[in-house]
Amino acid sequence: MIAHHPSDELLLGAAAGTLDVGAAIVVGAHLEGCARCRASVHAFESAGGAMLESIEPALMAPEALARRARISQVAGWPRQRPPKPSACIFVRSSGPRLPS
């Protein structure tokens, strides 16, 4: 039924999320019916995970937690301040602790 498989480059693009919408639709439709290409995309996603592990971390902005109000509205997000704010980086009013 499937005459042509997308190129590795397209499958990598699907895993990386860098395809434009048209290509994403075409590749997505193919993936629905092709286990072989799905396996390739999942392999490229694993490479994406390895990329995330190896990337040089960025500094998180100290003021980022100004958005805490919005984040705390998320269902299930811990609302109350813990006894020791420094032990919990995501509720400190001064922002997240920078990676050491």
Binding site: G13, G22, P57, P96
Partner: protein, 194 residues
């Protein structure tokens, strides 16, 4: 840096007991990496910051659905960040039609945004852990410059021109190197795929 198994334990602690200190470790490990990835992928710093936060909120909310048989934690976090990035791009620009950028998001934008289906078939789920090991093994065998070009293609495949500029190489060379790197990875993985 926490090991893959330690990360799985941290996710489990968040999923089962809503363990905040475990989440704090996950946040400290992943948020700066997700932000770095998003910035490299062309996301402006402020939005990258926001999406990195949103990625971690999603980790907190969906920890219970994480399946270590299917993927490593870093792969799971990567796919969350990738999907949020794709969604943000679609929201920003609408869906690009034949005639350029439309003013309004496409009504089906949510459906169209992700090329990769969410739920794997059961047999694919079981193949996950084996695939993770095979991919990492294969990546260790890639030459550093092939690894570099593979990482760059994750950041923005639409702009191979930017990669060419960054590496000071002709565009055609970049494209052929990406093909080579991907082909090499594919050959290393052969036998691991159906």
């Amino acid at each position: 840096m926490p090991s893959g198994d330690e990360l799985i334990e941290l996710i489990r602690a968040v999923a089962q007991t809503r363990d905040r200190s475990a989440f704090a470790v996950l946040f400290k490990h992943f948020a700066p990496r997700v932000k770095a990835y998003l910035v490299r992928a062309g996301t402006l710093s402020e939005l990258a910051e926001e999406l990195a936060q949103e990625t971690m909120v999603t980790v907190w909310r969906k920890a219970v659905s994480f399946d270590p048989a299917r993927a490593q934690v870093s792969t799971w976090v990567f796919t969350i960040a990738r999907n949020l990035r794709v969604d943000a791009l679609r929201r920003q620009h609408g869906v690009r039609g034949d005639d350029g950028i439309s003013a309004e998001p496409h009504p089906d934008a949510d459906l169209l945004a992700h090329a990769v289906p969410d739920a794997p078939a059961p047999d694919e789920r079981l193949a996950g852990a084996r695939r993770e090991a095979a991919v990492r093994q294969a990546l260790r065998q890639l030459a550093p410059e092939q690894l570099q070009i593979l990482w760059l293609s994750f950041y923005d495949a639409q702009s191979h021109a930017r990669i060419a500029t960054e590496l000071n190489l002709p565009l055609g060379t970049v494209k052929s190197r990406i093909r080579l790197a991907v082909g090499h990875l594919r050959r290393l993985l052969q036998g691991e795929e159906p």
